[in-house]
């Protein structure tokens, strides 16, 4: 039992360190909270593209991709090692995750050699950015309930409908899209999967403002949008199978922290006086801090166990749901608790007036999304119950009926 690299990992890490030391600037120590990277900023995107090209040249852009896709043919643990090292550097991150992690693997799995050759390399070098067009206003947790319509028209398809929760739709070049091509077929049998040029006529993109005020997502409206049949992946009616390839590759990218956490509330408790001494000396505060410390340590070592599995070449299971489930609520609870410590002044959002530059107030407003996006708490518990514990799935009445005979609500 140790935390050290295997000789192979150590050798790979040395190479990574070498590359990064030459190619990038170290991140200043204690640079504090890292909010979502600046994907919305065109300058950020330029820098991200330049960095991606450098990584690709050095062979670190598609570490786990097979060589015939243009990747390195490496292992998941190599990816972890790379990410660990890269995190120490001030480089732009996150812009290509969806494309490289989900879209292109689906293209390469289901597309022709020609499609692969055309798209994989450009995506790998950051020359084209990809997005995902899956969720709909009435199809979230129940993705297969989607109703964006695809109708054949000669060698094209005509798309009508609305997708939602698409990150970066307005700056992306290409997207992957699931549609319903047969409303009389059973729910999972009438879907067809395409990839689509995001500049196609008839596509309208509307940013979605979140309760925090930020707009990281878009609604994408399709009005008589044409897609050539050559951009179909998988057979007509087999879109669900193709979509599963995309979803299988979904992972909760670790990236920058998305809110004020245990470390910050600890720091706050050190500094804030409750009238009878620092909050850190209060028994009730200590009780909570201990809970959160223990949970976050637990998550850290759960991750180490996952990495050990990767290091061995095993595929980690749905255990990864655990981190998201625990963290999201913990962040919300920490934010609410930290604001309580600030008493009436806890309502202040102005970074110049609120402790830790208002990070707890910000987290109060962003954490509800963390409990929902990428699989809600409830879906995570279902996954754990069914895939880890082997408990039976829900009773499903919607799998056997024709889609257009299923009951629907007003929402």
């Amino acid at each position: 039992m140790d935390f050290e690299d295997t000789p192979e990992e150590a050798q790979f890490r040395a190479g990574v360190r070498d590359f990064l030391a030459k190619a990038a600037e170290p991140r200043p120590p204690g640079s504090g909270l890292v909010y979502r990277a600046g994907n919305e900023d065109p300058k950020f995107r330029e820098r991200a593209k330049a960095w991606q090209a450098k990584k690709a040249d050095a062979g670190y852009a598609g570490i786990t991709w097979p060589t015939h896709w243009g990747g390195r043919g490496g292992s998941p643990i190599q990816q972890v090692v790379y990410d660990q090292e890269e995190a120490k550097y001030a480089v732009p991150r996150g812009l290509f995750d969806i494309g490289l992690g989900m879209c292109i693997p689906t293209l390469c799995t289901w597309g022709t050699q020609e499609i692969r050759d055309r798209f994989a390399g450009k995506a790998l070098r950051g020359e084209e950015i990809w997005c995902q067009l899956f969720s709909e206003p009435a199809a979230g947790s129940d993705l297969a309930g989607l109703r964006t319509r695809a109708e054949p028209d000669g060698s094209d398809w005509i798309i009508n409908g609305e997708k939602i929760w698409t990150s970066g739709a307005h700056y992306c070049d290409w997207g992957v899209l699931v549609t319903r091509s047969d409303f009389a077929a059973k729910k999972h049998d009438g879907l067809t999967y395409f990839f689509i040029d995001m500049r196609s006529p008839g596509i309208e993109i509307r940013p979605i403002k979140q309760m925090s005020g930020a707009s990281h997502f878009n609604a994408v409206l399709f009005k008589d949008v044409r897609v050539p049949d050559s951009q179909r992946l998988g057979a007509v009616g087999e879109g669900w199978k193709v979509a599963l390839t995309t979803l299988m590759n979904e992972r909760h990218t670790i990236g920058g922290r998305v809110g004020a956490g245990v470390e910050d509330v600890f720091e706050l408790a050190r500094k804030l006086d409750l009238g009878d001494g620092p909050a850190l000396q209060n028994g009730a505060v200590r009780d909570k801090l201990a809970d959160w410390y223990v949970a976050s340590q637990g998550l850290k070592y759960v991750n180490f166990r996952t990495m050990t599995a990767l290091s061995r070449g095993d595929t980690p299971g749905p255990e990864a749901s655990l981190g998201k489930l625990v963290n999201a609520s913990m962040l919300q609870n920490i934010a609410a608790f930290a604001m309580d410590l600030m008493e009436q002044g806890g309502v202040l959002c102005d970074p110049n007036l609120a402790p830790v530059a208002g990070a707890f107030q910000q987290t109060l407003l962003t954490s509800p999304a963390s409990r929902i996006a990428g699989g809600s708490d409830e879906i995570m518990r279902n996954i754990i119950a069914e895939r880890v514990l082997g408990l039976p799935p829900e009773i499903r009445l919607d799998k056997t009926l024709p889609f257009n005979q299923l009951p629907t609500g007003k929402r």
């Binding site: 979230g140 309930g145 979605i208 009238g275 309580d340 806890g346 409830e378």
Partner: protein, 371 residues
Amino acid sequence: MNFDFSDDLKALREQARKFLRQRCPTATVRRVLEGPEPYDLRLWQEIAAMGWTGAAIPEAWGGAGLGHLGLCVLAEELGSALAPTPFASSIYLAAEAIMLAGSDSQKQAWLPKLAGGTIIGTFALAEGPGKADPGKLFTTWRGGALTGEKLPVPDGDVADLAVVAARGERGLQLLLVDLNGPGVTRHAVDTIDPSRSHARLVFAGAAAEPIGELGRGEALLRRLEERAAVLMAFEQVGGAQRALEMARDYALQRYAFGRPIGSFQAIKHKLADVWVATELARANAYYGAWALSRDAPELPLAAAAARISANEAYFLAAKENIQVHGGMGFTWEFDCHLHYRRAKLLALALGSTRLWKERLLLELEAANAPL
């Protein structure tokens, strides 16, 4: 046993509910949340015209003389509607302070205007993030002049009159300050709930007259907070109930996997827990109302229980309402965040749950045979 509001007050509540449903839909709340207006002036004027602002103020001072039970039922509806007005600051705090401890001339000077809604009052205690320890306030009152800074002050940007807690020569003192007078500057500040405006108030030798006996300020402050806590608990219970209803309605209308999401136990049991918390909060608030209406010796305990229970129920209801709404729940467009913001604002407004738990325990210890 008649642990309920009278039929008259229930009728008043029903009337208030109807009025607010019509005049204060969430679009009204959003106008204040998103726009430059600090509060909804027309709504405020209509509320005042109906006598709500004067509900608990005796007729002798221009009020309706309905007593505090009347104010409780109105508070519940104002909370449910998220009414973007300075009602709480002006009525639960400023008017209440003057009724509790004002001299006859102070009452004469201010209560009729507060009752009529022609001026707005507020209460200023906090001095930035952290506990506003009565023994350690920086704002000082000397020779009739007030110096210091208060932050955040609810409705401080629009109030005409403030009851200010400051350190005087004989300890903590509550003071009446005309905010339109010299020596007062104010700036609006950003908070988590922009549908209720807040300000930083700076006093540079502003004229301030004492309210209540010198040297008895801490006791007066405690009494004032207890009374406001009960009234605010009704706002919170109203808000919790509304958030619960939103979640319930959405769970009935939203379908996933071919069935309403409200048929899934994960949702059903979540909402059952929210309902339980809300009913406990309501029951504790009712007891607070009884104690408030009689100025009973049980008020300190009743108020603390009402506030703790209401803080918990409203925040729980508001956050789980978002969760039930799923992806749409955390959009700006959906109304869920209005309750989430307000729930946290109210939970901090009179001091956190932590502080009120401490008050509760001190009371129980003093009683020595509490339960």
